[in-house]
């Protein structure tokens, strides 16, 4: 061992070849005050010995101890002792070596991941200060309360408001673990030579991706991560996926991950593990987004230039999330740069976007503001088609985010979002919908172990519809939902390996199921103003993230939710029993005054996720989630539409709740270059909602009588293989899953398909995604995305009959007994970045995309003409090339 150490030193030292045979000779001169290197040279010459040393170590050093009367070795040791060096005999020579040679060994080792802190050696066991900053790798935002821990010393600390940490530690070699809640652990091998600085970026979730490749940063997170069922995508990775018309869609990108799908091409929303679109909680900076798309699903509601992180919890997620039974999509907008002004944007064929950011008070307050708009009407008006000629379609949205650092311990962020869609069909049908969201977040750091977050948010989603196509049936219809929320979370780092989060959440909800009004003097539509529904949802939660040992980690929590539906409202009592022919009639009603309690529900929602490391690069994970949902999305179509609305649980509608179980195996090989994961899940859904036959959704104040509740179950196997590094990287995801429903009753009108399990609307057993990125050069990346899925279920006419002058009255199959054709598509994109010089004022990139390369005519929908014959509508039935120019302007 020593030989190796010396060898390492030899390679860098001045070497002399004369042996040291008279080591026992005493020196006669003192050399005091002389330059140390000069003195050593003299001793070599005068005593015919060779002394190996590194001159750099002794630049400017003077001889402090007289050599007179000392042996050479004694002289050297007395003069270099302070430098943690010593002189040793080595085959007839004298070599000056470090007292703590391990430092020098590791410094020269081949371990490229080793980090050296400090630039010169301190004394052995000297306690030095290691400082640094921990940031979110996705956006360079400082992470507050992140943990820094050295397990061999059992010491640690957490970061302050600015993400900074300071750790006092003896010099030596250690493994420092950096971690933060919702971020992967990042163990770093370090050699601390002296006081120094080391900054770290952490990435949330199981994927850490930089602009071009999946990086080596924390690539074992999929193995190490405590939470099961978390999918995370960095916005840069999302931007790299091939797009439709150059428009980046964070939500759609997630569907390349296992267990996440959509009901069809360009459909609104997404489905997670057999759940419905309305069973996903979508948050943008803590405020609920009720409609995540523009133009019926053609565009995402999220501005990719402003998004920093996209986290999707398949299941309930940690206990601090609640209210939906399928998933939580937590989207965070980034903060504006607080040092420089920057402008970025993109110009496309039918839409453009622009984002600006910069300091308001340098290093104190910043802003980020961005918007998008479409410009399509000129196209419509130039077409030779009556309907299109007199139509209009447009949208805009705007985000703004302000950051204010009140002090080192406090900071505030405000996030605003407004959007509007304007859709006019043939001049006689108008659809307008919009979001109006606001959230305010206050973070406060109490000390090294505690911090709190208070989030106040509001969401206001409104839809206005009108149609004058038929004067007698002309109507206006408004619906929407408002939500006011307050959430307080308290994070306590009990121990570096145990973090406790506790808090409470309050939601005040007002849903407007619909206000139907006749439009024009000839309309015979009956005005129906369905009472707005009011509800309060309160939840308290406790979450513990705990490393129980070197192998076992637990992320456990419990949430207790309470729901109160209150007046003013009128609640109907419906007939039941064998006399109901098609739908139950109202037999009584009760009116509740404002604030009167109509009904209340509560539920305990235990959640835990367990990880056991089998080896350093493989683990198994298990999880169980129970989730409650009290607000229910009512949609009469497979894909969400603006006319969908929410109904509150009450006397006629029980809360939905679900139990989800999962077990998975995660394995990385070749130093995390390849990742494999396989996860099985099973989910029971209680009080799942469907319609009785012939239910009228629009403007029906008695709709609750047309809803049925039953059982749902979903199960599946999710497999993913990923290559993280290299010129060619990417992943393949495959999911086999089923999503079934069952409605059985003593009464025919409440029974579907004879009370047997049948496919839900989003039951698609096979789902495959393949994403590949190939780095052609420093500025050029070729990406491909292939997806395949089983066609979704559909109810089809199986025969027809004529009746009077109606030539084809249709007889339909059992509900969802058939399937539309399977879906598959290949997209390609080529991203060309402009010069790599960092000092460019304008930095841009061209994105050339080809959507649907081989022109597959996938079914957007299958509908039926009067005779019952099926027609497959392909919206994107051919290859679509597009070009987008994205730019950033910064000094």
């Amino acid at each position: 061992m020593r030989i190796i150490k010396l060898g390492l030193i030899f390679s860098a030292f001045l070497i002399s070849s004369i042996g040291y045979g008279q080591e026992m000779n005493r020196l006669k001169k003192s050399y005091l005050g002389l330059d140390f290197i000069t003195a050593v040279d003299s001793i070599q010459k005068e005593n015919n010995v060779k002394i190996f040393f590194k001159p750099d170590w002794f630049e400017g050093k003077k001889v402090e101890t007289s050599a007179a009367g000392l042996t050479i070795q004694e002289f050297l040791n007395k003069n270099v002792e302070k430098d943690e060096l010593k002189a040793v005999l080595y085959y007839g020579t004298i070599v000056l070596v470090a007292n703590n040679p391990e430092l020098y060994q590791v410094e020269k080792s081949a371990d490229k991941n080793l980090v050296i802190i400090g630039d010169k050696s301190s004394k052995l066991n000297e306690v030095v200060s290691v400082t640094g900053k921990i940031t979110d790798g996705a956006n360079d935002e400082p992470l507050i309360g992140a943990r820094v821990y050295i397990s061999s010393l059992n010491i640690g600390t957490i970061t302050d408001f600015n993400g900074n940490y300071s750790l006092s530690v003896p010099v030596g070699k250690y493994v420092i673990e950096y971690s933060s809640i919702s971020y992967e652990n990042k163990p770093v091998d370090v050699v601390i030579k002296s006081a120094g600085n080391h900054d770290v970026s952490l990435f949330s979730g199981s994927l850490q991706l930089d602009e071009l490749v999946i990086t080596a940063e924390g690539q074992d997170a999929n193995v190490q991560q405590r939470v099961s069922g978390l999918e995370n995508m960095n916005i840069e990775t999302i931007k790299q996926l091939p797009t439709f018309m150059g428009e980046v869609d964070p939500v759609k990108s997630l569907t390349t991950m296992p267990g996440i799908s959509t009901t069809g091409e360009l459909s609104s929303g997404f489905n997670v593990r057999g759940g419905e679109t309305g069973q996903n909680l979508i948050l943008q900076d803590g405020a609920i987004i009720y409609n995540p798309t523009h133009l019926f699903g053609f565009y995402s509601a999220f501005n990719s230039d402003m998004v920093s992180d996209v986290n999707l919890y398949k299941g309930g997620g940690p206990a601090n999330f609640g209210g939906r039974i399928s998933s939580v999509l937590d989207i965070k907008l980034r903060h504006g740069d607080d040092e420089k002004y920057k402008v970025s944007g993109g110009v496309g064929l039918v839409s453009s976007r622009l984002t600006a950011e910069g300091p308001i008070l340098k290093n104190k307050a910043s802003f980020l503001i961005g918007g998008r708009t479409s410009y399509t009407n000129w196209l419509l008006h130039s077409l030779n088609n009556i309907d299109l000629n007199s139509s209009a379609a447009a949208f805009y949205d705007m985000n703004a985010k302000l950051l204010y650092r009140i002090s080192d311990k406090d900071y505030l962020t405000g996030s605003f979002y407004i959007s509007h869609d304007d859709f006019n069909l043939s001049g006689d049908s108008q659809y307008d919908w919009g979001n109006n969201n606001f959230s305010l977040e206050w973070n406060h750091v109490y000390g090294e172990k505690t911090l709190s977050t208070l989030t106040l948010s509001s969401s206001d989603y409104t839809v206005e519809t009108s149609t004058t196509e038929d004067e007698q049936e002309a109507f206006e219809f408004d619906n929407g939902i408002k939500n006011l929320s307050a959430k307080f979370e308290f994070l306590y780092k009990m121990h570096p390996k145990n973090s406790l989060t506790a808090g409470m959440e309050y939601n005040k909800i007002e849903s407007e199921p619909g206000n139907l009004r006749p439009l024009g003097e000839f309309s015979i539509i009956d005005a129906v103003d369905i009472n707005n529904q009011h509800a309060n949802e309160i939840a308290i939660f406790l979450q513990d993230d705990w490393d129980l040992g070197a192998r076992l980690a637990l992320s456990g929590g419990i949430r207790y939710s309470m729901f109160r539906r209150v007046g003013a409202d009128k609640v109907y009592l419906f007939e039941q029993g064998i006399d109901v022919l098609r739908k139950p009639e109202v037999i009584d009603s009760t009116f509740y005054n404002s604030g009167d309690l109509i009904d209340s529900f509560s539920g305990i929602e235990p959640r835990f996720s367990l990880r056991y490391l089998l080896t350093t690069n493989s683990s198994i994970k298990m999880s169980y989630y129970r989730t409650y949902q009290y607000m229910h999305l009512i949609s009469n179509t497979v894909s969400a539409t603006p006319q969908d609305y929410y109904l509150a649980s009450g006397p006629n509608l029980d809360p939905q709740y679900a139990d989800q179980y999962s077990i998975g195996y995660f394995k990385n090989i070749r130093e995390n270059q390849y990742q494999f994961s396989g996860e099985f899940y099973y989910k029971d859904i209680y009080n799942a909602i469907d319609f009785i036959e012939g239910a009228e959704i629009l403007g029906n104040e008695e709709l609750e009588g047309s809803l049925i509740q039953g059982k749902g179950k979903a199960y599946g196997l999710e497999v993913q293989i990923k290559k993280n590094e290299g010129r060619l990287n990417g992943w393949i995801s495959y999911t086999y899953s089923r999503s079934l429903r069952k409605y059985q009753s003593d009464f025919e009108y409440q029974t579907v398909n004879d009370g047997k399990y049948y496919s839900s609307n989003n039951d698609k057993p096979h789902d495959l995604s393949l994403v590949l990125n190939y780095k052609l050069g420093a500025r050029l990346v070729l990406s491909a995305n292939f997806s395949y899925s089983t066609g979704r279920p559909i109810t089809v006419p199986i025969s027809k009959f004529s009746y009077d002058k109606t030539l084809a009255a249709l007889r339909y199959s059992d509900r969802n007994a058939y399937r539309i054709p399977d879906y598959h598509r290949l997209d390609l994109s080529l991203t060309l970045k402009q010069g790599l010089r960092k000092d460019r004022l304008l930095r841009g990139e061209w994105v050339f995309s080809i959507f649907n390369v081989y022109g597959r005519k996938n079914a957007y929908s299958v509908y039926f003409i009067d005779s019952g014959q099926a027609r497959k509508l392909s919206i994107l039935g051919s290859m679509f090339p597009s070009i987008t120019y994205n730019f950033k302007l910064a000094k």
Binding site: V350, L388, S429, G694, S802, L810, K857, Y860, G868, Q869
Partner: protein, 366 residues
């Protein structure tokens, strides 16, 4: 606005290549089922002679469902059918051709305040019956009128479809005042069109010089509406005034029926099925039936209705139009060489399921 049009619009907006293709589901393993079609009304064979329409006996048609292709329903012959009232009095149907059964009673009609049901037994012994239903009170005829309008439509010029204004009339029905009602009155209007055609190669006194074509498919099948107080107005159809069928006489017979709530629901279901192409159409479902199996559980479709009805006939007259309508010269000439229909009006092309005759209907007014 159909779902197709909406989505085409979006996709066109975005330069996409939307397309629609026929698609066939394999439903060959599905079994055909019995369909019952028929009604009785408060107008007997004798009563209806008083109206300017063709007389008719009440009929019931039995058939089995057919595949969703251009295929006629297969008739079900050999059944025994009777209509029974709530006093257990019954009237037997007679099979006049396969699957068509006629009630040969000149004075039979659904009496106000009485309920009727249909009872039938197939040749294989399967029995079916309908619910008892009572004819709704007969209602005053609506006020029928038209208004001149110009709408936007399509035309073909130089082989290309172009957008063009269309001049014509919109025919409407204004429901009579209903006074004070506690329940809706449910209406259904359907239309039978008759128009004259000329064989220009013959003399006017030739028996085959002029024919009359009668069709129920010239306009939309039917219009349904419900009203509580009366006075509501409903568009029935649009007729283009340069339509070539107008020039040798054009008349429309309006049948106004008052429906029970369940029968109205049936027609509403039929109508909603036709709107399945709508973007926000509800999930499809099967049309309600008032028929049920007796002694077995085979599903049955169709409806046996009990209604009240009235008739109204309208003749188109150029004089009632505010602008001049030219007689197209092209209609007055035979081609070269002349086609066979130039010498026999009965050969003139006509709509599917229409009737042509060279004898003027008894109610025809020139």
């Amino acid at each position: 606005m159909s779902r197709t049009a909406i989505l085409m619009m979006i996709s066109t907006t975005l330069y996409t290549g939307a397309c629609v293709e026929q698609f066939n589901f394999d439903v060959s393993h599905e079994s055909p089922l019995l369909v019952v079609e028929g009604f009785v009304s408060d107008l007997s064979y004798d009563d209806i002679q008083n109206y300017p329409v063709d007389a008719r006996y009440f009929e019931v048609k039995l058939k089995i469902t057919s595949g969703v292709k251009n295929k006629h329903d297969e008739p079900v012959a050999g059944a025994e059918i009777q209509v029974i009232d709530d006093l257990a009095e019954s009237w037997e149907y007679t099979e006049v051709e396969p699957g068509i059964y006629r009630l040969f009673f000149e004075d039979f009609k659904a009496e106000a305040g009485r309920s009727y049901m249909l009872n039938l037994e197939l040749s294989n012994g399967d029995r079916y019956e309908s619910n008892f239903e009572m004819p709704p009170p007969n209602q005053e005829l609506a006020d029928f009128f038209f208004e001149e309008e110009v709408i936007t439509g399509y035309d073909i010029k130089a082989g290309e479809v172009v957008i063009t204004p269309l001049k014509g009339i919109t025919y409407k029905a204004k429901v009579a005042d209903l006074g004070t009602q506690t329940d809706f009155v449910r209406y259904r209007w359907d239309f039978t069109t008759t128009y004259g055609v000329i064989a220009w190669g013959l003399d006017e006194d030739d028996i085959n010089y002029k024919c009359w074509i009668t069709t129920g498919f010239f306009f939309k099948n039917f219009v349904i509406a419900k009203d509580l107080e009366g006075g509501s107005t409903h568009d029935l159809f649009f007729l283009e005034t340069n339509d070539q069928h107008l020039h040798e006489g054009f008349t429309v017979s309006f049948r106004q029926t008052a429906l029970t709530a369940d029968f109205y629901q049936f027609w509403e279901d039929v109508e909603s099925q036709e709107k399945q192409e709508q973007l926000f159409a509800p999930p499809p479902y099967n049309i309600v039936s008032n028929m049920r199996a007796v002694g077995h559980d085979k599903p049955v479709y169709g409806y046996f209705g009990v209604v009240s009805e009235k008739f109204h006939r309208w003749y188109f007259s150029k004089k009632e139009i505010s602008y001049y309508i030219d007689y197209p010269e092209s209609l007055q000439r035979c081609g070269v060489p002349p086609a066979p229909e130039c010498f026999d009006c009965r050969l003139i092309s006509r709509p599917i399921n229409s009737i042509i005759t060279n004898t003027a209907p008894t109610w025809w007014a020139e």
